[in-house]
């Protein structure tokens, strides 16, 4: 029965087609340079940084070496979107509890209030710990610049906003070479499901 065979073949094709590896993009500005006559593409990379975490320990890009991490911007007294983001981050934290390749890096955008001891209290209440989840504070301008220039998200003081700051609810997926591979709305469960899908791809390939 040849038509049965056709069905079988097309089904096989379909399965193969679907399982083709999805590749994650490299977000941000690319630069090219010519080395020994070959063109080399330099992807946007999160620059070196150094902040204090909830245990008053310095956290820098070196701590993220060989780790895939999810970055976000928040403040502990935020009444609007942070609670939703934290609900989702707790979900990620739980999901990858046994995976040492994954880190969460939450930057406060209210460093004057969110000193390490405030972050410590916050982390304790959420029942989460460094180094798997670092909550960091530091120089305000350094945090804002890093957010806008490197992670490509909004983070600013704004007295007119509820809570006094304007920031996006983005989760930024960063690979082991500190390239940005995805930006997701951290306030929405479905968007965070996409992040998980992409994170799984990174785990296999990065």
């Amino acid at each position: 029965m040849p038509h049965k065979l056709i069905y079988l073949v097309s089904f096989a094709l379909l399965v193969c087609g679907c399982s083709q590896d999805k590749k994650l993009p490299y977000l941000g500005k690319h630069e090219t340079r010519v080395v020994d006559g070959k063109t080399d593409t330099l992807y946007h990379q999160v620059p070196p940084f150094k902040f204090l975490n909830q245990d008053s320990v310095w956290v820098s890009e070196k701590d993220m070496a060989g780790k895939i991490y999810i970055a976000d911007f928040f403040f502990t007294t935020c009444p609007t979107i942070c609670p939703k983001m934290k609900t989702q981050l707790v979900r990620l934290y739980e999901r990858y509890a046994d995976n040492d390749q994954i880190r969460i890096l939450s930057h406060t955008i209210d460093p004057e209030f969110d000193r390490p001891h405030v972050l410590k209290q916050y982390a304790n209440r959420l029942q989460v710990q460094a180094p798997r989840w670092n909550m960091v504070t530091g120089d305000k301008q350094a945090i804002y610049t890093l957010g806008e220039k490197s992670y490509m998200v909004t983070a600013q003081e704004d007295k007119n906003e509820v809570g006094g700051f304007v920031h996006s609810g983005a989760f930024i997926l960063v690979d082991k070479q500190r390239h940005i591979r995805g930006i997701y709305d951290g306030t929405k469960e479905e968007e965070v499901n996409h992040l998980i899908e992409d994170l799984e791809i990174l785990l296999k390939t990065n």
Partner: protein, 124 residues
């Protein structure tokens, strides 16, 4: 028999609600919307909160007047922080509390606009 059943069904559908019951239902419906918009972010839609960060509002033991003041003024203490809600008016807060009672307190008593107004007197 069939017509009897039908009649019973019709009666149960159109059973007259008292004015108070209708008002109570309105409070609960409005309160649910207000709760979603103003409280659920932290305390979650199911009222269970998030770990020790946002308390489980569904297990709150605060009285209605205490709740009304807390919602309006917020709280900043060594053990926690809840933002004030200056934009919520007495009627909104009355609806939220009535909704909470209905949803988690097994209490179908309306916490009225008037009661809330008295409790919030002098608080802006």
């Amino acid at each position: 028999m069939k017509s009897f059943l039908l009649a019973a069904l019709a009666l149960s559908l159109f059973a007259c609600q008292t004015k108070e019951e209708i008002l109570h239902d309105q409070y609960v419906i409005e309160g649910r919307i207000q709760y979603e918009n103003n409280c659920a972010n932290c305390h979650q839609s199911n009222g269970e909160g998030l770990r020790n960060l946002y308390p489980a509002i569904s297990k709150s033991t605060l009285s209605a007047p205490e709740l009304a003041r807390l919602i309006k003024q917020g709280r900043k203490s060594a053990t926690g922080y809840m933002p004030a809600n200056p934009k919520l008016q007495a009627i909104d807060i009355a609806e939220i509390i009535t909704f909470m009672r209905h949803e988690w307190g097994k209490n179908e008593q309306t916490f009225t606009f008037d009661s809330t107004r008295i409790v919030l007197k002098g608080i802006n």
